[in-house]
Symmetry: C2
Subunit: 345 residues, 2 copies
DNA sequence: CTGAAAGCGCTTACAG
DNA sequence: CTGAAAGCGCTTACAG
């Protein structure tokens, strides 16, 4: 609340007057951009407290040519992982005193994308976080001026100088190796269409298969229509050699389980089925699903921290930080849908 | 891309020079704030296109004392409904050329809340959307200057002059009446702790119960630990008169179903169980869950539209729109977990 | 260490 | 209809 008598919210001039100093001095005090005598420091501090003065973001942004804000460019705005990524980044931004903007790129035509991005840039954000979803977003990287700090979430290693990615490929490997460790001789993989990047679960599965000396194996691909996966489960039930399935996501996993059961195959007694993502229902399922959990909130947080380092370096005229592709590790969650091979093995 | 030769991004002065007019004239053209001769209009239009000029958000914000941006104040940032609400609001904002900011209030201490809000306000947003989660947020409404456009999502009817709420109470009523319509004589309700507002599922259930002439019935309250609900399911299985349960959310519903089944009670043959929220797993469950689906994306969209109407009115000096509490209707989704009463009924 | 001056990019009265 | 001037709230050289 501004003190009574003062009509609107206080500005730097009010502080200067009350403290008996000039406006630039208050500015220097605020930003630590030059020494201010102890005496004046105290007076200014008092005045600020008294008036409950908050510097204007926009005036600052205009003078500095850059706003204390970052914006997240995203598609798939309602995808559950996006939520967590955004939340992690937003909290970190907030804690550093940065405003956090979100602009989605889904649902607009290709030629509107450029103007949307220009609009975002015209707000002078200090940096951008781009969260990858498809090829389009990667292309978009090239449309962004090189001098604006940027970090890419996801994508292939090397798509951008500053990048943070979830341990997707590692996750695929871990879950497959876990199944091998249980004693299974082979792990069948079922997945949906994956992006063209080099950090996928399927590649991780293949890594583990190769290490295990199994090369020829093909993965099954399914669509998002779950009945297709149920159908596949029924079909796979016929394969007497099958003992372990790594499904690329939890929904596919439970659908496969349904299909297997339809044919009298028990999970995990006859066939182990692991999912991926550790979605909310994974632990509630019967049997509770073994899965792989990514820490998307942390992914968002690290993306902001990485961006912040660039922003600070730029601001203080230092060398930019070393380019880096940070990977945020997920975690294997073992539950009841996987076990050592039974009669089939 | 700025034309070669021009170092940085073009500003209004560049446009004015190229078009051979004064800066204010370009401004008038841009904002339609005064007539500009056709001749100059064309020259300006050309210059803008040639330079690919975009007005600076922040300069505009400083001059206008208000930025073309809205910010969403929220808690529960990773809650699934929050995501959808945000997405709906963000898309609407984007389509109106507004920047969209998000600031979460969770995870900060009570005394940081005020300064966080002040920070948000110091960016001169044109309006605020507050998405209700708990009492705290409602109190917070009073800390916000009256002259800034605002809409509240959720809360009790009347908590704010401009409000948009999901049909929660109506949903509770609809689902209960649906069960009565199936022939059930009584509907037991199990819910988690609900906010103190007057728009809850439980109140809707009670409305329907009262209409059916059943008043004394108490609801069961459970925590978020699902094993508690499983336990309750086992206990309820003993009640030979029980034929229908309305669970306040899908997770509780499936847990109750587990408990009932543990005791040999079949769903829906012996007992119907309806959930609420229509979460992603509802349709995948066995039996697929009857539930009530809210359109949270639409909720967010309408919130922005309502805010936008206020912003426009204020900007053009018109009377503000009539206060309004809009309700966004959800939808009953009938699936396999509910049926007419069987042997018990 | 500190003030007067100029500028960030735009808009809004003020005079034509 | 249109230009010259002043201002939005802050920061950054420039001189002390």
């Amino acid at each position: 609340m501004p003190p009574s008598g003062n009509r609107s919210t206080p500005v730097i001039k009010d502080v200067a007057q009350l403290a008996g100093v000039s406006v630039p001095t208050v500015s220097r005090y605020l930003n630590g951009t030059a020494k201010v005598s102890t005496e004046k420091r105290e007076k200014i501090a008092q005045a600020i407290k008294l008036l409950d003065y908050k510097p204007s973001f926009v005036a600052r942004a205009l003078a500095n040519k850059v706003m204390d804000s970052v914006t997240m460019l995203t598609s798939l705005s309602t995808y559950w992982a996006t939520t967590e990524v955004n939340s992690g980044a937003e909290h970190a931004a907030r804690d550093h005193g940065f405003l956090f903007g979100v602009t989605s790129l889904d649902g607009i035509s290709d030629d509107e994308i450029e103007s949307t991005i220009n609009r975002v840039l015209s707000a002078n954000p200090a940096g951008l976080i781009i969260s990858e979803s498809d090829e389009l977003v990667i292309q978009l990287l090239h449309q962004i001026p090189k001098d604006i700090p940027l970090v890419l979430i996801g994508g292939s290693r090397g798509d951008a100088p500053y990048q943070v990615i979830p341990s997707e490929r590692e996750g695929g490997r871990v879950i497959t190796e876990y199944l091998f460790g249980l004693g299974h001789r082979n792990v069948v993989h079922v997945h949906r269409r994956e992006g063209p990047n080099n950090n996928t679960r399927t590649l991780g599965w293949r890594d583990a298969m190769t290490d295990a000396g199994i090369q020829a194996m093909e993965a099954y691909q399914v669509g998002t229509d779950l009945s297709e996966s149920v159908e596949l489960g029924r079909k796979l039930a016929q394969d007497e050699d099958l003992t372990a399935i790594f499904a690329g996501n939890d929904e596919t996993a439970i659908s496969l389980i349904k299909g297997l059961r339809d044919e009298g195959v028990r999970v995990p007694e006859d066939v182990s089925v692991a999912g991926y993502n550790d979605q909310i229902f994974a632990k509630m399922w019967d049997p509770a699903l073994t899965s792989y959990s990514q820490n998307f909130v942390e992914l968002g947080r690290q993306a902001f921290e990485m961006l912040y380092a660039q922003i600070e370096a730029k601001r203080s005229g230092e060398e930019p930080p070393e380019p880096e592709c940070r990977v945020v590790e997920g975690e294997l969650i073992v539950r009841d849908s996987t076990a050592a091979p039974g009669r089939r093995g």
